[in-house]
Symmetry: C2
Subunit: 244 residues, 2 copies
């Protein structure tokens, strides 16, 4: 089990960037990874373009793990993820013999020649069979190439998350009737005195019954509870609507 | 009116990357920009972190315009967008005198000192008053700093889009009962013979009444119609379910 907890996602597809399709894979990944203690640090959404994919891979490789790509896996002209990932890593694109065998078995005698594009991988890639789908996840170093179709994407994510289990997150929330500016100096103090705790401040507009939601979060419960007690001791009790 | 059509968005916020809040600003931006002929090329979602924001700005500056940031504008410790954008551009953070005057007028005599953080801008920034909200958009070069709160974000986007009007997009769609592999060679040919047309191929799973949706798109109608006619001439008519 790799000792990494900070992940990145590269979402590939003109259809996402033109809102023909709304990306649900990014939020799904955040949610599932989070349940395993893996924090998604970056989501890069890029076009179906080899240079763009290569840029995104270069910007994340070696800094995040796992790196999950979504989309651009398939037999058509706009499926460029394998080529883009390979270029971003300075690797060649090669035919993976076992994957070729699977593709041939899947299509049988009626296989069109374009189907063999599905057997291309960045050099050095291995296959990860994560579910009942016939097509495996292509893995190269800490990068996992997943199809963009949400149903397939979701099938594969759990198995990847299993390999990178981290400590769970502890989260407390405080809802306030005061605005951000009024509490900014208290937040400064809490952020400075409790550096192990991620302190978030989110203003709400319109209909919400509170004005600001604060979040306190860390990988252990104790520092979160300490920061929460300190915070509540410094806030005017009249502005605290709810603690959860 | 600037002669740019390719935009980028930088979405800033730990709350997005932990799905405490689902990003709606990215999709909103795609949609509104698209209606004005501006294509969003990249969406980079990063943490509330000065280095991360600076990295994203450096990766987009000079290549895309407009560049819109979402989030991290406010008076609290986790509002780091001004500092991150400044660092990414190699600029200092300075107090903008007119913005300071607006902040003082807004808060009046009861202004806490932290409110003055709202008057900080990257050096060389100008203010863009785009709506009825008292707080303006901070603009520096082609980068526009917008608040993450969707209601405020949306109020500001239209005015930015007005400055970058491009030619509209023409889109045709073809729905097929065939799978991607079977039509890959036809798509190769269309993509090669009609390079001015963006040809997309999107497989559907499950309940959809088609197997593949094709999209043909360009900034002028004529090349799209030519590519569509060519495509329909090369596909088996039996697999074409609908053209729209």
């Amino acid at each position: 089990m790799a000792n990494f907890h900070r992940a990145a996602a590269i979402v590939i597809g003109d259809e996402i960037l033109s809102v023909k399709v709304r990306d649900t894979n990014g939020p799904f990944l955040i949610d599932r990874f989070r349940a395993r203690g893996i924090h998604l640090d970056r989501i890069l959404v890029v076009r179906d373009d080899v240079e763009e994919i290569a840029w995104a891979v270069g910007a994340c490789r070696g800094r995040y793990a796992p790196i999950v790509t979504s989309g651009g896996i398939g037999p058509t002209h706009d499926d460029l993820t394998v080529e883009g990932v390979a270029r971003g890593m300075g690797k060649a694109v090669v035919i993976h013999p076992e994957l070729e065998a699977r593709v041939r078995a899947h299509y049988g005698a009626s296989m069109p020649p374009e189907a063999l594009r599905l057997a291309r991988v960045p050099e050095g890639a291995t296959l990860l069979q994560t579910s009942e789908t016939w097509f495996p996840v292509i893995r190269v170093e800490e990068i996992y190439l997943l199809p963009g179709i949400p149903k397939l994407f979701e099938l594969h994510v759990a198995a990847i998350a299993d390999r990178y289990q981290g400590a769970p997150f502890h989260l407390r929330c405080v809802y306030l009737s005061a605005g951000e500016t009024a509490i900014a100096s208290v937040l400064d103090r809490i952020a400075r005195d409790h550096p192990a705790v991620a302190l978030g401040s989110y203003p709400r507009m319109g209909d919400a019954p509170y004005r600001v939601k604060l979040t306190l979060e860390a990988r252990a419960a104790e520092p979160v509870e300490k920061a929460l007690a300190d915070l509540l001791g410094r806030l005017d009790p009249g502005v605290v609507l709810e603690v959860e």
